[in-house]
C-alpha cells in the first residue's frame, strides 16, 4: 500500500490525518485560484501577442515611409545634413515615461511617449533649401519612434507575462500532479495504517476474548471433572485419572 506512490514522511496518526486533510483542501483551493490566474494571464498574453503583431506591421509601414522621407530630404537638400542635425539637437523633444499596470498581480511596465512642445532645436535647418522636407521628415520619424515605443512596451509586457505564465503554470501543474496526489496518497496511507491498527486491535481483543473463553471452558471442565473424580475416588481409586489431574494442575500453574 505505501509503495504505490510517494507520500510525506508522517506518522500515521489521527492528528496528521487531520493536518493532511486540511492541506489537501488548501491545495485544491490554491489550484483553482492559480488556474484562474493563469487563464487570465494567458488571455492577456494572447491579446498582447495580437497587438504586437499589429504594431510590428505598423512599424514596418511607418519605418518605410520614414526612410523614404529621409530620401526626400537628401534629394531636396542635396547633401548630408546628419552631422548638423546631431549637433544642433540639444534637448530631447520626444520623451518616454513609464507607468505600471497591474494584471492579476503582475506588474507590467508601460511606456508612454510624449513630446515637449516648443522645443525645436533644428527648426532652421535647411533654411536655404529643403527646410520643409527636413521638418516633415522629423515628423515622420517622430511617428516612427512612437510606434517603436508602443512596440517596446508591448514586447516588455510580453516577456514578463511569458515568464509569469510559465511560473504560474508550473505551480498549477506542481499542485495538480505532485502535491495533490501526494497528499492524497498520504491520506490513503494514514487511513490504511489506521485501519490496519484497528484490525489488529480487533483481532487482539478477539484473541484475548478467545483465550478467556478457553480458560473459562477449561476451568469449567476441570471443575466438572473434579467433581466427577471425587465421586470416582469415592467409588473406585483410579491412579491414571489422578495422574492426568496432576499434570493439568501443573499446567494450570504455568499458565
Amino acid at each position: 500500500m505505501s509503495g504505490a506512490g510517494d507520500r510525506e514522511a508522517v506518522f500515521p496518526t489521527r492528528q496528521s490525518l487531520g493536518l493532511m486533510k486540511n492541506k489537501l483542501k488548501g491545495a485544491e483551493t490554491g489550484h483553482s485560484l492559480l488556474k484562474r490566474k493563469s487563464e487570465a494571464l494567458t488571455k492577456r498574453f494572447r491579446e498582447i501577442t495580437r497587438r504586437i503583431d499589429e504594431a510590428k506591421r505598423k512599424m514596418g509601414r511607418v519605418m518605410q515611409i520614414a526612410a523614404f522621407s529621409l530620401a526626400e530630404v537628401t534629394y531636396a537638400v542635396g547633401g548630408d545634413i546628419g552631422y548638423q542635425i546631431q549637433e544642433s539637437a540639444k534637448q530631447a523633444r520626444f520623451r518616454v515615461r513609464t507607468k505600471q499596470e497591474n494584471v492579476s498581480g503582475v506588474f507590467l511596465p508601460q511606456f508612454e511617449s510624449y513630446t515637449t512642445e516648443g522645443n525645436n532645436d533644428f527648426g532652421l535647418t535647411g533654411l536655404g533649401k529643403g527646410g520643409q522636407q527636413v521638418q516633415r521628415c522629423r515628423e515622420t520619424y517622430a511617428r516612427a519612434v512612437e510606434t517603436l515605443v508602443e512596440l517596446a512596451s508591448l514586447q516588455t509586457a510580453f516577456v514578463i507575462l511569458d515568464e509569469v505564465i510559465k511560473v504560474v503554470n508550473r505551480r498549477v501543474n506542481a499542485i495538480e500532479h505532485v502535491i495533490i496526489p501526494r497528499t492524497e496518497n498520504t491520506i490513503k496511507y494514514i487511513n490504511s495504517e489506521l485501519d490496519e491498527l484497528d484490525r489488529e486491535e480487533f483481532y487482539r481483543l478477539k484473541k484475548v476474548k478467545n483465550n478467556k473463553q478457553r480458560d473459562n471452558d477449561a476451568k469449567e471442565l476441570e471443575a466438572a471433572s473434579k467433581r466427577r473424580g471425587s465421586d470416582k475416588e469415592n467409588t473406585a481409586d483410579d491412579p491414571g485419572a489422578t495422574d492426568i489431574l496432576g499434570e493439568q494442575e501443573d499446567q494450570d500453574v504455568i499458565f
Partner: protein, 364 residues
C-alpha cells in the same frame, strides 16, 4: 567682339565642358534607370557614363556610396578644368567653389562650437569646397580663436568681415550664419560677373546675372517659406535676402513682411514665372502642401521641384551661348542635379517605392 579673344584662354575649357555636357544622362538613360530592379542594375546602366568611378563599388552598394562615387567624378572633372583655367576663368571657378566652402566652414564651425574633434569632420566636407587652409580650421579649439586667427586666412574672410562678429558665431544659429555667408557670397559673385573689367559686357555677365538673380530669388523665397513657425524674426530674415535679383527691392521687401504662404505668393506675383509656380503648387493646399515634394500623387510637384526644374532649364539654355564662362557653372549645376537624380532613383529602387520614381528632373 568677345569671340575674338575668348578662345585664347577659354576655348579649350569651353570645348571640354561642352564635351562633359554631352556625357550627361539623357531622358532615355533615366527611363532605363527607372526600369531597374536592383542597385546593381542601376550601376550597370550607369557604367557607360561613370565607368571607372563605379568599378570599385561592392555589389549592391548603398545609395550614399553611389552618390559619393558620382560626386567623385564631378570633382575629378572639375579639378581638371580648374587646372587648365587661367585669368578670369580661374577666378570664376574659384567663385564656384565658394558656395561649397561655405557649407564646409559652417560644418566645421558647428564642430568647434560643440567642442568636437573637427578632424573627423574633414572627410565629411564637400570636396569641391576644399581649400588649402581648411585643415587649419581644425586647430582652433574655441570660437574666438577660430574667428580671429583662422577664418581670416580663408577665402571666405571677406564674407565674414562686416556682417558677422565672433560673438555672432557663438550666439547665432549656424543656419543663419550659413545663410548670411551665402548672401554675401552671392552678392560678391554678382558683383564679380557684372563689374569685373574682363567680364563686363560679355555674354558671361549677361548669362550669369540671370542665373544668379534666379538663385537669389530662390533663396529669398525659400528662406521665407522655411522660416514660418521658427524663431527667426522678420528683421533677421530680411538680412538674409541677397540685395539683388528679380524680386529686389520691392519683392524682397514684401517677402520680409510675409506671414504666410499667401503673403509670399503676393510678394512674388510681380514675376510671372514665380507666380505660375505658386499657382501650380496650389494655394488651396495651404502651407503644408508646399514643401512636401509631390506629397500625394506623382504629378503634383512641389515648389522646390519647380525651382530645380527652372534652374535646370536656365542651365540648359546657357549652352546655347558661346564664349562664356557660364557654361562651367551650368555644367556643374546640371551635374549636381544628375547626381541627385541618380540618388533619388537608387533610393526609390532600394526602398521598393517605385510609384514616385519619376520625380527626377531631366532636361535633355
Amino acid at each position: 567682339m568677345e569671340g575674338l579673344f575668348f578662345n585664347v584662354n577659354g576655348g579649350y575649357i569651353e570645348g571640354i565642358v561642352r564635351g562633359y555636357r554631352n556625357s550627361l544622362l539623357t531622358g532615355q538613360n533615366y527611363n532605363n534607370l527607372t526600369q531597374c530592379e536592383t542597385i546593381d542594375d542601376v550601376k550597370l546602366q550607369l557604367s557607360p557614363a561613370y565607368g571607372d568611378f563605379l568599378a570599385s563599388l561592392p555589389p549592391n552598394p548603398s545609395t550614399s556610396s553611389l552618390a559619393n562615387k558620382t560626386t567623385d567624378k564631378l570633382v575629378a572633372e572639375f579639378r581638371y578644368l580648374q587646372a587648365q583655367a587661367v585669368g578670369s576663368i580661374a577666378k570664376f571657378m574659384e567663385y564656384l567653389t565658394y558656395g561649397y566652402m561655405i557649407d564646409n566652414v559652417a560644418l566645421l564651425i558647428t564642430g568647434t562650437l560643440h567642442e568636437r574633434d573637427t578632424r573627423e569632420l574633414l572627410e565629411r566636407c564637400h570636396p569641391l569646397g576644399w581649400f588649402e587652409t581648411m585643415p587649419v580650421l581644425c586647430v582652433a579649439t574655441n570660437i574666438e580663436e577660430l574667428y580671429n586667427s583662422v577664418l581670416i586666412e580663408t577665402p571666405l574672410a571677406s564674407y565674414f568681415k562686416g556682417s558677422l562678429s565672433h560673438q555672432d558665431l557663438d550666439e547665432l544659429n549656424i543656419e543663419i550664419i550659413r545663410n548670411t555667408l551665402y548672401k554675401n557670397y552671392l552678392e560678391d559673385f554678382y558683383k564679380f560677373v557684372t563689374e569685373n573689367p574682363e567680364l563686363k559686357g560679355t555674354p558671361t555677365s549677361e548669362v550669369m546675372a540671370e542665373v544668379l538673380e534666379f538663385e537669389a530669388d530662390r533663396r529669398a523665397i525659400n528662406i521665407t517659406l522655411n522660416s514660418f513657425g521658427t524663431e527667426l524674426s522678420k528683421q533677421d530674415r530680411k538680412k538674409l535676402y541677397p540685395d539683388f535679383g528679380g524680386l529686389y527691392p520691392e519683392g524682397t521687401l514684401m517677402l520680409s513682411r510675409a506671414d504666410d504662404l499667401e503673403g509670399v505668393a503676393l510678394a512674388v506675383s510681380g514675376n510671372h514665372d514665380y507666380k505660375s509656380y505658386f499657382d501650380q503648387v496650389g494655394m488651396s493646399g495651404g502651407t503644408s502642401s508646399v514643401g512636401n515634394m509631390a506629397g500625394g500623387g506623382a504629378e503634383s510637384k512641389s515648389l522646390e521641384d519647380m525651382f530645380y526644374q527652372k534652374e535646370m532649364e536656365i542651365s540648359r539654355t546657357v549652352f546655347t551661348r558661346q564664349f562664356t564662362h557660364a557654361v562651367i557653372y551650368a555644367w556643374v549645376k546640371l551635374r549636381e542635379q544628375e547626381i541627385r537624380n541618380i540618388t533619388w532613383i537608387a533610393e526609390c529602387i532600394a526602398q521598393q517605392q517605385k510609384e514616385r520614381i519619376g520625380n527626377y528632373i531631366s532636361v535633355f
